[in-house]
Amino acid sequence: MIEELLRFFASPGYREMTLTLLGEHVYLSLTPLVLGALLALPLGRLAQRHHRLRGPILGAASVVYTIPSLALFVLIPGVLGTPLLSPINVIIALALYTAALLMRPVLDALESVPGHVTAAATAMGYRPWRRFVAVELPLAIPVLISAVRMASVSNISLVSVGALIGIGGLGGLFTDGFERRYMVEILVGIVLTLLLALVVDLVLVGLRKLLTPWSRASKVVSEP
């Protein structure tokens, strides 16, 4: 097995292809992560402020999340008129999944900000929009990041389904390996996908520590 792996990576063609596909995979999974988060925040804010919109927004999110990825990849070109074999479809589909997955946690996180905190900010003269960015959003970061971690794992694993319509990052190794009956290629694809998910997860954990310095400070203070 190890010999075969070495042979795989010794071949310049496979090495180059793997690197290209890995780059594509990173791009196809992380762009929608950012777009989805940017979509979920205002929608979550809307659902928080207007109780009548809450039901429809959460309902739409759960329906989107229910639709299987391959079906969504195929339906998006029909709705938006994008070319069938364009990476845009995969990116939009995964951004929708990310937003759908983040909807509920964003809402919960915004609601968990204590009323006296927002009242204090208002009393200090913060306008609603600035209060949202400067007070409510930072306090929601821990919950938000843990939801983004879930979405990143799910995106990274879903990208490879796109290989069936020609745009799938490391999923290309699965279709290519299947057609050539070359198991090592598939195995390399699986392991790299898992490693990528792990690395992105670690980066997100680091990001949370960086963005919430007060959580460390309060731990130090609360120690006896």
Binding site: V63, Y65, T66, I67, P68, S69, L70, A71, L72, V74, L75, P77, G78, L84, M150, V153, S154, I156, S157, S160, V161, A163, L164, I165, G168, L170, G171, L173, F174, T175, G177, F178, R181, M183, I186, L187, G189, I190, T193, L194, A197, L198
Partner: protein, 227 residues
């Protein structure tokens, strides 16, 4: 585009025989029910045991989190290369993918039962098995069924993808449409796949309402009103 789709949908050819929409929908549903059912037979007893004894709970969480990152297409193609073409390797892949969600849901369900309730059951003289069967399992049902629902979504989606390794079902219609470049056929199949997924999820939500003990539903409602 819409006209092409309507033409495809209204063509009686596409509604007849083994390759037609009704037959492939039933086949798709059959794969899903068989693999989620098999996964439940493995994961529910194991989850109850782990949740009841508390042994190995950390390992379950770690493994089920790692499994969520596993690319389904990679798993399915690899199983078929190892065991050869046929329904069984592809279905085995679906079972493997369904297990973590059900296992995690069962464990979390048993784990979520308040310890004072379990203590009260013990105080009433219930044996370990009675506590598991009459207290922990009913209380665990909401989260357990939640696990089954997410496993079912995963399996409906992956059964579509598994058409690539020659499994039947609605994914077959979609990929055949791709092979001959008929977008309207792909879109029609995608539409039915999405509808099937939503319908299956609704049915499971309905089952959840039916089997979750009335007291639990009332308690959840009371908590929601109280907060």
């Amino acid at each position: 585009m819409i006209a092409d789709l309507l033409a495809w949908l209204t063509n009686p050819e596409h509604w007849r025989g083994a390759g037609g929409v009704p037959a492939q929908t039933l086949l798709h549903l059959y794969y899903c029910v068989v693999s989620v059912g098999t996964a439940m037979l493995i994961a529910v007893p194991l989850g109850l045991y782990i949740g009841h004894t508390g042994r190995g709970a950390t390992a379950v969480v770690a493994v089920s989190n790692a499994m969520r990152a596993l690319p389904t297409l990679g798993l399915v193609t690899m199983l078929v290369l190892i065991f050869g073409l046929g329904d069984t390797p592809a279905l085995a892949g679906l079972v493997i993918l369904a297990i973590p969600a059900i296992l995690a849901g069962t464990c979390a369900g048993v784990d979520s039962v308040p310890s004072d309730i379990v203590d009260a059951a013990r105080g009433m003289g219930m044996t370990s098995i009675q506590r598991l069967w009459r207290v922990e399992l009913p209380n665990a049902l909401p989260l357990l069924i939640g696990g089954v629902r997410s496993a079912m979504l995963q399996v409906v989606a992956t059964a579509t993808v598994a058409a690539y390794v020659n499994l039947g079902g609605l994914g077959r219609i979609l990929l055949d449409g791709l092979a001959v470049g008929h977008y309207e056929q792909m879109a029609a199949a995608a539409l039915f796949i999405a509808l099937l997924a939503v319908a299956v999820d609704l049915v499971l939500a309905g089952i959840s309402r039916l089997v979750v003990p009335r007291g639990l539903a009332l308690a959840a409602e009371a908590n929601r009103d109280g907060s």
